[in-house]
């Protein structure tokens, strides 16, 4: 499957630039960017199983807990810092946003949109939402800080981050209109 989020992110990244992928899972995005854009850089991941897969994907992975911050990296060390589908699982979102601002010139964030209509509909039906982008049971989920696209805009404003570009996807299809309602995930390119 051609992952449209990967394609979009690669469009936002300069060829040969230095990228940090926070919560890089099995390194698939980094591998994609290395192939498409000849990027260099590192992924950060905490799960041993993911790290084993990442090594097989030939990407540099640093095992670290994102909650501890990014002190191993110097200020403005990366051209782009990516936080893909990880924001909602972070305890300290304020801290990670500040750290991303510190180590990266550009920031890319993606997350599942809690405001997606199917999620709203499930809540109206009295249940916590479950979908392909939010697959976990409420009692067994890493996602502790879910937000809507509107909420995210507010956070960006508070953090003085400017949204340069954005893409909304539902089942890997792009959504153009009423994105906070119709988009299941949102991907944002931010600058300071």
């Amino acid at each position: 499957m051609n992952r449209l989020d990967f394609i979009k992110i690669s469009e936002w990244i300069e060829p040969g630039s230095k990228v940090l992928d926070l919560g890089c899972a099995d390194g698939a995005l980094l591998k994609f960017l290395q192939a498409k854009k000849l990027t260099t850089g590192y992924g950060i991941e905490i799960s041993p199983k993911n790290i084993e897969k990442g090594i097989k994907n030939k990407v540099n992975i640093i095992q670290m807990n994102l909650e501890d911050g990014l002190s191993v990296f110097d200020t403005q060390f990366f051209d782009t810092v990516i936080l893909s589908q990880t924001l909602q699982a972070m305890v300290n979102i304020d801290k990670i946003m500040d750290e991303m601002k510190r180590v990266g010139k550009n920031i890319i964030v993606s997350f599942p949109n809690f405001g997606y209509w199917k999620n709203r509909f499930q809540i109206l039906n009295g249940k916590m939402p479950k979908s392909s982008d939010l697959p976990h049971e409420w009692y067994d989920t890493p996602n502790i800080h879910l937000c809507t696209v509107k909420d995210f805009y507010e956070l960006c404003e508070k953090k003085r981050l400017i949204i340069q570009d954005q893409l909304f996807l539902t089942e890997n299809q792009p959504i153009k209109y009423f994105s906070n309602l119709r988009g299941s995930i949102g991907i944002f390119k931010l600058s300071k």
């Binding site: 230095k18 590192y42 041993p48 790290i51 097989k56 992975i61 640093i62 670290m64 060390f77």
Partner: protein, 370 residues
């Protein structure tokens, strides 16, 4: 996982080139004992060197004969279908200069005096070892090692290789190591050394002529070392407060199982290990300091290296804890080196690098093949 490399034998490399040492002395000639496993390919691009740690040697894997009680010290890591796969790689183990098991050491004859070196054998550094190892690797026709995989003091040698010979190694696996020793590390080594130095049978390092050896000192040194290689949790799990005969002796005979274990380890070691080697190994550890010649800036150390790195630490290792490995990682990152860092969850302390652990072994296996 995997099979054994089978029956192996040691070889000897004689070097007649002069070797200038960090201490200012020179060795006019030396020999190194080594072993190899697997086959060197035609282009000589599949060689992996496995430097040993404090009490190790060149016998990394396999057995010397069918009824050999013990296999090489890293037999779970090196062999057919093991993480360092001898079906694919040509693996080299070398007994370090000054080592216990056949390489030129204090036990050898000084070619200039025709007498046993004894106390006059020089104190060697990691850098000296690496220089001597390079000569052996060259003699095998290998211009570039595919990888160096080293744990603890072996990891320090691996790092030194990548700094001293940047074109001679492609990948470094630096496991359970540190960029230098802490004061606490040095303190442990000093207690171990004092135990040996103060043994009446040590004769200032010239005990060979007296046909004796400082076993008491070596025992204590090893017992102390052994404590630092384990973790509190792993010791507690294995021994707890278990008594040997189920009751208090009310004397100073061994009473707890941990005492019996440590004494057994001490005895075993004192029987086979050379005191001069032990003293010099601990000194090589103490003197290892990557930053020393780089204005105490670790990031400067790696400025010219070309190797890719994998750094591995173990969660319960308090001799060389994860924080020390992270210092290495940080310095590598500062230089944009390709590095992967893995912190293995293990309760077995520093010893974990020698033990089987699925995630650890998968990680090494994958990295070598990536």
């Amino acid at each position: 996982m995997g099979k054994s490399v089978g029956i192996v034998e040691s070889k000897i490399f004689h070097c007649h080139d002069e070797l200038a040492l960090a201490c200012g002395k020179k060795l006019s000639e030396f020999h190194l004992v080594y072993e190899t496993y697997g086959k060197l390919n035609n282009k000589k691009t599949n060689a992996i060197f496995v430097p040993h740690a404090l009490s190790g040697n060149h016998h990394v894997a396999g057995k010397y004969h069918k009824n050999d009680k013990y296999a090489g010290w890293w037999d779970n890591m090196v062999g057919p279908d093991k993480p360092i796969d001898t079906n694919k790689y040509f693996v080299i183990g070398i007994n370090n200069l000054g080592g216990n098991d056949g390489s030129t050491s204090a036990k050898s004859i000084n070619p200039n005096t025709k007498k046993i070196w004894g106390s006059s054998f020089p104190i060697l550094t990691v850098k000296d070892w690496v220089a001597s190892q390079k000569k052996l690797i060259n003699s095998l026709g290998i211009e570039k090692l595919y990888a160096i995989v080293g744990g603890s003091l072996g990891g320090m040698q691996a790092m030194q290789w990548s700094i001293d010979f940047p074109d001679a190694v492609e990948k470094i696996l630096c496991i359970a190591a540190a960029p230098s020793l802490t004061a606490q590390n040095i303190a442990f080594n000093e207690v171990a050394r004092q135990a040996i130095l103060q043994d009446d049978e040590f004769y200032k390092g010239n005990f060979y002529q007296e046909k004796t050896k400082p076993k008491k000192g070596l025992r204590i040194a090893r017992m102390l070392g052994h404590i630092t290689y384990l973790s509190n949790d792993s010791m507690d799990k294995k021994f707890g407060r278990k008594l040997i005969h189920g009751k208090y002796n009310y004397n100073f005979q061994q009473n707890y199982e941990i005492e019996s274990y440590l004494n057994y380890q001490g005895d075993k070691f004192a029987m086979t290990f050379d005191a001069n080697t032990y003293l010099r190994m601990t000194k090589a550890l103490d003197y290892f300091d990557l930053e020393k010649n780089f204005k105490n800036k670790l990031s400067k150390v790696f400025a010219k290296i070309k190797a890719k790195y994998m750094v591995i630490s173990f969660s319960s290792d308090w001799r060389f804890p994860p924080s020390r490995s992270k210092e290495i990682v940080k310095a590598l990152l500062d230089n944009n080196i390709n590095v992967t860092y893995v912190e293995i969850e293990a309760e077995t302390g520093h010893d974990a690098f020698l033990l089987e652990n699925e995630h650890y072994h998968n990680t090494v296996w994958s990295y070598l093949r990536s």
